[in-house]
Symmetry: C3
Subunit: 251 residues, 3 copies
């Protein structure tokens, strides 16, 4: 049904690995390198030129690298100068601006909006409509939920660009706002609708506007009395420890 | 100006009713059934295959049904396996994932994001940028405002999928978050920016994070002293009781 | 790399200035007037017909005016009847519905959603995913941050259409909600996640849900003790006083 080669444009300066599929109406610009077995769906723009392209006759597209085994869904735009690891996955109409560095096994949901010049570790999962500011930094296994945002400017407008830095395994709830050059530790949980404006240590459960530390996440229990955090022990889907878990459970 | 047949692809396995119009650059995939007098605008993907399509050579597209008299605006994506009633309307770039069941006379605004396997009753109206999680359920005449979300996971991440269930006539304000397997009654009003994490009875006016019952909605008055809720008595546009209202007022 | 003329459609009733560039897969509808040196990128719909087009055989597209030196990024939709000044800039997939009036030197970020029949002054900057309701009004130099919204209906649903009015230089933080026919003065700062439901005077720093005046913005200091507001003295990028600042600093 797809991949009919209708209205596709692939630059002669792009390099595609084996078994790469390119959807209809998609453009692959200069100096894009796509790893083997990656699928780019319809209506995408890969290696989108930066603003200079429109005014600088000497503009040259920076290299864009997408690793092997990716699935980029339709309508997504990935700018020139982005580097992405293996097994990347997106929803629809994702925007990734220039000079983002994204690790292996990450996913970005529909309408995700990455403002460029930021760093994401491995195994991160951004649900729909997450917005990351420039110069923000996610560790490994950071999950963000719909409409959560990282911002770099507490008293706007300003020329500041330093954004938040989020530790490994931290979960950022829906509609949460983390703003300014703050550092959030590993294994934190930021509640839905919280507004985080200062640094917090590992294992903090953060709530409110401005967010305060309500407790240690290790104190949180399910209704059955099971310890909920760190969450690694109860969630493994698409995580590096998934197979080990399957082995243990005999599946 | 539109419907010029440029770069349109309609599967031979799709079935279109009388007077159906298909916009430029739109794809109608296998096993899509479109009712009479429906208009699909430019750049849409209807019957979009699910993730299995990319890896399963035996993949077959589930039937997608869109009722008569619909208006689907440009850039919208409706997955295979979705069933939608009569007189459906969307804004631009709406995403409706697989196995959603949507009643008659519903509308979904620009950037609406329905995560699949959910149920929406009749006469519901979702304004721009509403996000619904899997396994959520809306009754009839539920209205949701910009950036409101239903989520299924209170202590993320987890493998839980049970989402909120919202009663008839309930209004969910802008930026409100309803999270977990909670049940909200009929005729409730959830204030803008509220975070709802537990069950509430009919006629509740909910406010805050976590949301608490502030009053019975029937106590709310306009500045002129008019009772505001239930709202059926003061709003009828595109609702089933619209004509009766017009008859009464002599229009 | 771009502007190859692939699958472009320009109405014979459109009028394009000198050096206008139109991206691939873009449609320019009837009665669109585009000023000199403006660039419209790929996959845009300019002069998009209003809802009447689908049902009224006598429909005629209202004039759409985009000033000189604009850069409209890919996937954007601008409806018929919109009037925009000079040096306009957008991110990707912006939606501007009918009869919006936008001044000079404004920018609207990715996924911006303007609901029509609203007014924006000069030098305004809307970051990603800002939503403006009908009949809202922004003064000059108003900046809005991701997911902030203006809404016109405090006790929804209703047939009210009067939206908020925002004064010059006011900053509206991420995820803030301003709702109803309220008037916010000049030089205000609305904090992230605030919910504003009443009028406020010039220089108000607003916080919370419902938002209260926390202080005069002129009392806010940076960590170095510098007065932060009015912000005109510390931020000039792309603002009319930029060159004067450069002259003063000797750059």
């Amino acid at each position: 049904m797809k991949f009919n080669g209708r209205n596709v444009h692939i630059s002669k300066k792009a390099r595609l690995g084996e078994n790469v599929r390119i959807g209809d109406n998609t453009v692959i610009h200069d100096n894009v390198h796509i790893g083997a077995n990656t699928t780019i769906c319809d209506n995408c723009e890969i290696g989108e030129p930066t603003a200079d392209y429109y005014s600088d006759p000497a503009y040259r597209n920076a290299p864009t690298v997408i690793g092997a085994d990716a699935l980029i869904r339709s309508g997504s735009i990935i700018y020139a100068g982005v580097t992405i690891g293996q097994r990347f996955e997106t929803g629809h109409r994702v925007t990734i601006r220039e000079a983002c560095l994204i690790g292996d096994n990450c996913s970005i949901g529909t309408h995700g909006d990455l403002q460029g010049q930021l760093t994401i570790g491995h195994n991160c999962r951004l649900h729909s409509s997450v917005h990351l500011c420039r110069e923000s930094k996610l560790g490994d296994q950071v999950f963000m939920y719909p409409f959560s945002v990282l911002l770099n400017d507490r008293y706007p407008p300003s020329t500041e660009v330093a954004g938040p830095e989020i530790g490994d395994f931290t979960q950022i709830g829906a509609h949460a706002v983390v703003v300014g050059q703050v550092s959030i530790g590993n294994h934190c949980l930021i509640a839905a609708n919280a507004t985080v404006t200062s640094d917090f240590d590992d294992h903090s459960f953060l709530l409110g506007s401005p967010a305060k530390r309500r407790s240690d996440v290790r104190e949180l229990r399910s209704e059955d009395g099971i310890q909920l955090y760190p969450w690694k022990q109860r969630f493994s889907r698409n995580m590096p420890w998934e197979d080990a878990d399957k082995d243990r459970s005999g599946c």
